[in-house]
Symmetry: C2
Subunit: 442 residues, 2 copies
């Protein structure tokens, strides 16, 4: 089975190509908008976002707190990850087992993750069960038990996951690529480091919870079979009197350098290439997205065609836009056998340099169609929509409509893409490799 | 980010818990059924399955041909995989680049894979574009160019993917587990072996195409925003005069043994445990599914609770039902640090043996809710539905309704589960490990 994977933070499909699908196209825009979307910021700083999706029986919720890897205490990277596990081990009136049993009895499919900016808790299920679960999620973020035995288990698992990375050279490469490409602390891995994780104690985790689990700047997004008034009342009930304000400055440090080789006796060489781009709030955001689609969008993307299909150089190759607040990057990856690694890197770089020669109208047309289709399709998934409106609000302070996104895509012309690419050659590059030997960077 | 992965062939979520969601519950059953589903077998043996999903703009198509790893020629395992790549490299009036460009211009998200029974080609996109793509998919399976240069690239990529397995010990373990658990040729990996792939030639691939790409027993399933008459006419137009009949007997051979250790200097030890179960057409299928849910369904599943949450023994642990035609298996997995591997295996086995002591009503209730919720949610995804109705037809010769599945789940009682578990202790076990040293099997 083949796939074209994309960088994971944030998922470009789920978040960057965030679409707002107005099904009620026959009614005039603003009414359809009002019927479909809801946004409310409570006095304590928590913002509730809602999207009604007619025809669905399910709903999905995403709760994002400003506790990401970037705000992990300086010498305790991985702290948010430990905490996001630990808070699930008993909260409110339920111990760990009771809490898990309760959420399973609601039939909720759950996930949790830590990104650069946020800790996220998500669940999906039948709509009324998701809403019923708000009380438990309020307990989880506000009233976790934070037991010692849970802390020990959570830290053990985090250390194991870190050690296991040596068995996953591809994932290791992507972590290293961010570390060498982005300024610290944005480039730090949410998995932490062995040294930092070993320094953590239950008391430090408790202090971190008090410091970073706050309503201020938090986002609760829900999409699916919902009624706004009911949601608002439930969120008010469970989160309305939550208090607190996150503090703390981030001290920005440049990454260690531009080129890095991590020696590992692996069967394949893993190559990561990154370069800076504009943030997604920039007027040329869709100009850049189109260029990246042409480079690596569908199967007809240049990288896939040149590196994989024509030359059979490697099994997996892609590039994608990756978004942080106020800062965009393009990340690229190729995994290949050791003897083809140099040729793969050379071919990859050739394609990047070739971008400044411009793209064709046919390439742009395909890219537009691809991005619009995936936009509409993500509009049929409650989980994608909950993630997308939360991401939109965090990045832009508001939810975008489908028509706005469609118009933005349609407005991109081949002249604009080519002018941009001519004026903005890819680079400066960060190149990271994992494998038995270093490659020539020319 | 945590997840509870499941075995991949077939995905129990997408296929085994295949749900049929009748939204038109207010109209009486048979009419709702007729409005929602469609099934037609053409004289050439191709079966068309359709599911209308109101409220969707997209559609997803799955095309399954009886060319799976089990029918790969004896000394040429991997042949179906090479072929499933090669047929996409030019077909009908379009060369490789034109075909890729055309499908991207339709905005179709594509996938292809080879399982035990079938080669599958799938696509999803706006409904009218998916239907427009039928002509190209007809070319792909009926009139591929099968060029030498495409064959060389496809085989190179397959060899690379195989070599890359050493960097993915978890995936390698799951392949080895099937190989040692299932009788040959059902246990053979669709990725083939190096020796076999090197024997393949373009001529052999062409012969294999002539031999196995046939309408007889093929299934084309489409779900989403569709009209049955239109679909039927389009399929008839593009596939109606396709001829051919697959031949060939499968010679069943027992697996090499029950215990296998694959030495690898990995950071983690990967443990696979399998044992035989009843096929999914058996009356007790949902009895078994409930037992497996209780063992490893939600976060409150026994394996997750005991092995991971309570004892912090390993990062990833699960078990799931895996289905072949006429034969079921339970597959289990745990990945852990080398020093905890023996304790993890012991704890895993303890949980398996403990099954025969029975389960509680509360455990069964949670399992039912979880399975019904995931059933309803997969009913909101066109790709899940297309896969589910195709799987249902292949396994049972018909599509099942949601009510039928719900009734089957509801009919399971704690007495029935406990009687089954008492009479059917798990085993005999196949245990495979990948890591630096072998474990004690007691």
């Amino acid at each position: 089975m083949w796939e074209i994977p994309r960088p994971s933070e944030p998922p470009p499909c789920a978040y960057n190509s965030a679409s707002i699908l107005s099904r009620g196209r026959e009614v005039e825009g603003s009414r359809a908008l009002a019927e479909r979307y809801f946004q409310h910021t409570f006095p304590n700083g928590l913002t509730l976002l809602g999207e009604r999706m007619p025809g669905m029986q399910s709903a999905a919720m995403t709760l994002m707190l400003q506790a990401g890897s970037a705000t992990d205490p300086v010498d305790r990277s991985g702290s948010a990850t430990i905490l996001s596990d630990l808070v699930l081990r008993g909260a409110g009136s339920r111990d760990s087992k009771q809490l898990t049993d309760y959420l399973d009895r609601l039939g909720l499919q759950r996930s949790s993750s830590v990104g650069v900016h946020h800790s996220r808790f998500g669940c999906a299920g039948l709509a009324d069960r998701v809403i019923e679960g708000f009380g438990a999620y309020s307990d989880i973020v506000r009233r976790p038990h934070l037991p010692q035995v849970g802390f020990d288990a959570a830290r053990d698992l985090a250390l194991q996951a870190l050690a296991g990375l040596d068995d996953e050279p591809r994932q290791k490469l992507l972590i290293k690529l961010r570390e060498w490409h982005l300024p610290s602390p944005y480039g730090r891995s949410s998995m932490g480091t062995k040294e930092n994780l070993e320094k953590l104690t239950l008391e430090l985790a408790k202090a971190d919870h008090a410091q970073r689990y706050h309503p201020s700047g938090a986002i609760l997004a829900i999409a699916g079979h919902i009624e706004f008034e009911q949601i608002k009342a439930q969120v008010e009930k469970h989160f309305g009197n939550w208090k607190g304000q996150a503090e703390g400055d981030i001290k920005i440090m440049p990454p260690p350098g531009n080129f890095h080789h991590e020696e590992q006796q692996s069967e394949q060489t893993h190559i990561g290439i990154a370069w800076p781009s504009i943030p997604e709030t920039h007027d040329d955001y869709y100009t850049v997205r189109m260029a990246v689609e042409i480079l690596s969008g569908g199967m007809s993307g240049r990288l896939f065609t040149e590196v994989r299909e024509k030359r059979g150089l490697c099994y997996s190759v892609w590039a994608g836009y990756s978004s942080l607040k106020g800062q965009g990057s393009i990340l690229g990856y190729a995994g290949t056998s050791n003897d083809r690694a140099q040729a793969t890197l050379d071919c990859f770089m050739t394609e990047l340099h070739r971008l400044s020669d411009g793209v064709t109208q046919a390439e742009l047309d395909r890219a537009k169609i691809g991005l619009k289709a995936s936009t509409i399709m993500s509009g049929e998934s409650t989980s994608s929509r909950a993630g997308a409106i939360a991401h939109d609000f965090f990045m832009r302070g508001r939810i975008r409509t489908l028509d706005e996104i469609k118009d933005s895509i349609d407005a991109v012309t081949v002249d604009r893409v080519n002018a941009y690419l001519k004026a903005n050659k890819p680079g400066p590059f960060t190149i990271v490799t994992v494998g038995p030997k270093a490659l020539n960077i020319t």
